[in-house]
């Protein structure tokens, strides 16, 4: 029912502000000029002014009573309402659910790809490590075996003989040092040695080098008969490559352990972390439904 059809809403805005003297100098001058030339604009301003003055003429109502406070008022609402709690909890659960989804997605997508490659890679790695351990066992037969087997006896050797003993241990085998010095880890070595005596013959190739390094000839001579036993100690690993407690098994175990440790973080997540995520999401979704529906139903109260 606006009779001033030629006036746009911005014209009305200017007229209204003009009425309250809220225009800038330039705007005011422009409006003055327009009011002089445009009778419709003048009439609109007049109507607007009368509307405003009608509103101003509304009598102020007398307050029916005083609103002074008689005593320190109690807090109006100290506890949030039941509906408020429901609303808040449903909102919080919704946020948690979104966060769980986001976390789930970000965790899963890289894992899916990685786990595939891990699965593919794993057998070959295992194979390699198996080969490696077998190869190592074969290759290192003489020197490595002695070295791996040495530590226990060598400790004895270091304990007693010092430098010379050490050389002995390295060169000849674990059993030699302890026995030559008469004490030390001999007990253990002696127990093992007798069982494996039959294999002594296979060692000769190795014996010369240790003896050459031996600093004290007396000892060598004395040990010579025993040296037959030393090789046994040195030899122990050969037949045991696959299952021997000292050598083959240990290195193989170590390798597989390392492989497993490397694979573990890649392999486990897809199976173990997705399930908890699913569980969390399902629980949150259930909670959301349980809180949101009552909150929605009670919202009119």
């Amino acid at each position: 029912m606006n009779k001033h059809r030629n006036l746009s809403s911005s014209d009305w805005l200017l007229l209204s502000a003009y009425l309250d003297n809220q225009l800038s100098e330039i705007e005011k001058r422009q409006m003055d000029e327009r009011l002089q030339s445009d009778p419709e604009c003048r009439k609109a301003l007049d109507t607007l002014r009368r509307t405003s003055s009608l509103l101003r003429s509304l009598p102020a109502r007398r307050t029916p009573r005083n609103f002074t406070l008689s005593a320190r008022p109690l807090p109006v609402k100290t506890l949030p309402s039941f509906v408020g709690i429901l609303r808040f909890s449903s909102a919080a659960v919704a946020l948690l659910l979104v966060a769980a989804f986001a976390l789930d997605l970000t965790q899963r997508t890289p894992l899916m790809s990685v786990s595939k490659t891990a699965e593919n890679a794993q057998p070959s790695v295992a194979m390699e490590s198996a080969k490696m351990s077998a190869a190592d066992a074969v290759e290192d037969k003489a020197p490595m075996i002695i070295f791996w087997g040495a530590p226990a006896p060598m400790m004895g050797a270091y304990g007693k003989g010092g430098g010379g003993g050490g050389a002995e241990g390295l060169g000849v085998g674990g059993g030699a040092a302890p026995e030559s010095f008469g004490i030390g880890g001999g007990g253990a070595a002696e127990e093992v040695l007798p069982e494996e005596t039959p294999l002594v013959e296979e060692l000769p190739a190795f014996q010369p080098t240790p003896y050459a390094e031996m600093p004290v000839p007396d000892v060598i001579e004395e040990q010579l008969p025993e040296s037959e036993m030393q090789p046994k100690a040195a030899f122990v690993p050969e037949p045991l490559t696959g299952s021997g407690p000292i050598l083959g098994v240990r290195s193989a175990e170590e390798r597989t352990a390392v492989d497993e440790a490397a694979d573990a973080p890649l392999r486990q997540p897809p199976i173990q972390t997705i399930l908890p995520f699913r569980l969390i999401e399902i629980v949150l979704a259930a909670l959301l439904i349980l809180t949101a529906i009552p909150a929605w139903l009670l919202r009119h109260k």
């Binding site: 029912m1 805005l13 209204s16 809220q22 009439k43 509103l55 101003r56 102020a60 109006v76 009119h300």
Partner: protein
């Protein structure tokens, strides 16, 4: 004691000081509530709640127009009430005239004794028409036009009350005036002659 001192006292928990502020501002507060809600009982409730809220929150008052601060609290209370009314429309509980059995929208004890009976009737008709038109406005338009046109507040203080920029006050006021003007022109025939906006005899 000036207003600033009273506010300081009230901030320290002096209820008497706060009550003196209440006495200063209760008329404007109640009137704004009445214009926003259009009904006496709700306006009284809103006014009382606003003063309670103001007393509880007085420590958060950080200077500026105290009137604007109080009225801002009141408008928030009124908006809550309007929303509640929208959800749960209630029957108007105006007093009923014992003789006629009709509802009295403006009880005698609220009328102004200083005017003639005719003037009072005209005034009441006008007021009812304006209140109807105000009631048809969106809340934010209604608040601005009541603050500026009914209560005579300047743009700056009105912007403090509703916490919006001056430009927004200006545009809301223009829109509100335009709509109220259209509304009153529609109700023209019902209004006393001297209040009609679409008087064709005028140039």
């Amino acid at each position: 004691m000036d207003e600033t001192a009273l506010i300081q006292e009230a901030k320290h928990g002096d209820l008497d000081a706060f009550n003196r502020l209440v006495l200063v501002y209760q008329d404007q507060t109640y009137n704004l509530a009445f214009r926003l809600l259009g009904e006496d009982a709700s306006a009284q409730d809103a006014t009382q709640i606003a003063f309670i809220n103001a007393y509880q929150a007085i420590k958060s008052y950080r200077g500026g127009s105290f009137r604007a601060w109080i009225l801002r609290i009141l408008t928030n209370v009124c908006y809550d009430e309007l929303r509640r009314q929208k959800r749960k429309p209630t029957e108007d509980l105006n007093p009923v005239d014992i003789d006629t059995g009709e509802e009295m929208e403006d009880p005698a004890w609220l009328s102004d004794d200083s005017k003639s009976a005719v003037e009072q009737v005209e005034q009441q008709e006008l007021e009812r028409a304006i209140q109807n038109c105000l009631g048809g406005l969106p809340e934010e338009f209604r608040t601005v036009i009541v603050l500026v046109d009914v209560q005579g507040m300047d743009y700056q203080e009105a912007s403090e009350v509703v916490r919006t920029p001056l430009g927004t006050i200006r545009s809301r006021l223009a829109r509100a005036r335009q709509r109220v003007q259209d509304c009153l022109q529609n109700a023209g025939e019902l209004l006393p002659e001297k209040y009609r906006l679409n008087d064709e005899s005028r140039p």
